[in-house]
């Protein structure tokens, strides 16, 4: 696994870590589930769209309700957990002054491909579990 020089202190990784940390604060502190918004696709078809339930999953997980988060959207719960872990890990890395580890391109490619499959599988789960 290659590593980036620590010279670049606030790079892309830190921006993404900040975004992920912000998403935790928003899910934890803001009344996101009270916003007057509903998925137009679901309103018309009765079926959830591919990203339905993500907000619920983030909010539930930020409040420690793992079961509810998984029920709302398994991929959303997984994304939330992974994003917040990455943000925390990047904070620790910065505090210790360690270089940014870079996974090999093949691993990143495999991860991206797995993400696509997971999105489709999650959509299938939502359609079956939440069909109205």
């Amino acid at each position: 696994m290659a590593a980036q020089s620590p010279a670049r202190v606030f790079g892309h990784a830190e921006v993404f870590a900040a975004i992920f940390a912000l998403s935790f604060l928003a899910a934890r502190l803001l009344p996101l589930l009270g916003l007057p918004y509903a998925c137009p696709f679901r309103a018309l078809t009765g079926l959830p769209c591919a990203t339905c339930g993500m907000t619920h999953a983030f909010v539930y997980l930020a409040h420690g309700q793992l079961r509810a988060a998984l029920a709302a959207s398994p991929l959303g719960a997984l994304l939330a957990g992974a994003a917040w872990l990455l943000a925390a890990a990047d904070g620790v890395r910065l505090a210790l002054g360690l270089p940014l580890p870079f996974p090999p391109p093949r691993a990143v490619r495999a991860l991206a491909f797995a993400g696509l499959i997971a999105l489709l599988a999650n959509w299938a789960f939502l359609v079956i579990a939440h069909r109205t």
């Binding site: 892309h12 921006v15 993404f16 975004i19 912000l22 916003l35 007057p36 918004y37 509903a38 998925c39 137009p40 696709f41 309103a43 018309l44 078809t45 769209c49 591919a50 391109p105 990143v108 490619r109 991206a112 491909f113 993400g115 696509l116």
Partner: protein, 318 residues
Amino acid sequence: MRARCFRCQETFDTDRFGTQTCPKCGSEIYLPDPGAAAPAPVAQVESPPFPPQGAGGPGWGAPLPGWTPPAVPPPGWGALPPGAVPPPAEQSAPFAERARRGFFHGFVDTWKLAAIEPARFFRQVRISETRSAVLFGALALTLGNWVSLVFGYFTASATINIVGQITRRMDGRVDSLPLAQIIRGFTLQSFIAQAIATPILALIAVYLTAAVFHLLLLVVHGAPRGFDATLTVVGYASGIFLIRALPVCGAVIAMVWFAVAAIQGLGEAQRTGTGKAAFAVLMPVLLVFLCFCAVAGMVGLAGLNGLHSAGPPPSTGI
């Protein structure tokens, strides 16, 4: 013999020296011939005589006799003369040179290049200046969204009326409550909150869009120049979302135009071709459009049914 590309670091086989194109990333590279004769030593040139006492130094005093001003600088991002081939060298976007060109001129020139000539612009633009690209995209997204918010706020009541009349024609097949809730959400408080949050959300949108495109490019082996190239394209192409300021149809026009510019831009900036770039851009856009098209299609079908139903339709007020 084996050669290594200085840009993508991939190796490839070739049977000649000199200028050639890397088959992996398309960069033009030069392979020097090790058997060629060494270049002739440069002739010793005598330094010019020192100016006489009191004439000043070379930088500050009066010019020496025989001095001529330097030639006109190269045209940079200006229009190419007919038949000219654009230089392969990278150069900064006009917005990245805003300190020299002026903020407004830099913004407008960059917007024109990214929106009207995306292929040429993104082939030549320097990908190491991602901060300027992100700032440009966030600024354009913010301005476009602010104008769109103002328009939405002042036309909210009329929009609720129109949506109500359309959904009445659909005989209750569509739940109008979510749409009405969205529109009623345009209170003064929410308007102010959205206006304040827009710059941060715009910044996040540029980064997340670039991340999604880059992951999809990685799936098809289409990102040899790294995340900086993807972020540069998304940042500058997001300038097109300034068109969201146009009422009613601005958002749709901006999304289609952005998709076209991003496909061309990613293909050129990543040196990967438009096929892979189209996959990366259209996969998420198709998902978004699937939702919007489903909505528009059902509203349109129901509207047609409403026209065929007995009795005159209620007035839409427009």
